[in-house]
Subunit: 161 residues, 2 copies
């Protein structure tokens, strides 16, 4: 089970936009070039972040993408939901009502499947952790462990407009 | 992000084997017919469970699959690992060292990526929950909420040998 690889790209691109300042719009091609990513594919992820209200798309010659809200209000869960979707990893297809067990009759108001409930509980734990981690938590930790990172980002984007 | 659908089939098939008694081997075709599943595909999942030490494959005309250990010693995590693999859902490709940021140089002993650490923490919470849920927990709960289920299973497999 693999998450869309665009999740990694999207999170790192949002961090870069945060370090560049919330008013600065950056074209998808520049955000992609910073990590040598395929621009068209990253653009698709940035559009998805825009639809989810995480980024704003600024039109025009000085346009591009910028953060739509403070990174303290953006969680890893928000980015995963925008890029990878909100469906649950375990999908219960109610096989318990097929064939020999249920005779093909699905009851009108079935009790929740005990198997599915076990998977749901685990998935909720995963989502709770992702929702508890904001991008601001991440920038704070990066700034502590790798204090030169924000300046390197700003310098590169200033030099490669 | 979706888990392999075989996980649902595998868990339910293990529960059925538990209700049929630990000494009874059941052919893949019978386990599949109970839920009207494609037998060849279920057989593939049962083989994976066998490689993982969850089932034992019994050869011969009275052969089939049976549980290799008590269901109190089989967790949802064991089944997921056997069927869906053990790789992490979020794969860090270290884009932080590519292009503008790292100049393409990956340090010899890089600090863990803060982004990847956030995802890993969430994934560990998910795995902990799955590892805390045994198939014996599930049969106990099913026997409480749906007390007729084990007998229906035994009757069907007795009638459809």
């Amino acid at each position: 089970m693999r998450m869309n690889e665009g999740v990694e790209w999207a999170v790192h691109s949002c961090l870069n936009l945060a370090w560049l300042g919330e008013d600065r719009a950056v074209p998808a091609a520049r955000l992609a070039a910073f990590y040598e990513l395929p621009a068209a594919y990253l653009n698709k992820q940035l559009q998805a972040l825009t639809r989810a209200g995480i980024l704003t798309s600024v039109p025009g010659p000085k346009g591009g993408f910028r953060l739509a809200r403070p990174i303290a209000k953006i969680t890893l869960m928000d980015v995963v939901a925008a890029i990878d979707g909100e469906e649950e990893a375990f999908r219960c297809t109610e096989i318990r009502f097929r064939g020999g067990s249920g005779g093909g009759r699905t009851p009108a108001n079935p009790k929740p499947c005990t198997v599915a409930s076990g998977f749901r509980k685990a998935e909720m734990a995963w989502r709770r952790e992702l929702a508890a981690r904001t991008l601001a938590d991440i920038t704070s930790e990066v700034e502590r462990t790798n204090p030169g990172a924000p300046d390197r980002v700003r310098r590169w984007f200033d030099d490669n407009r």
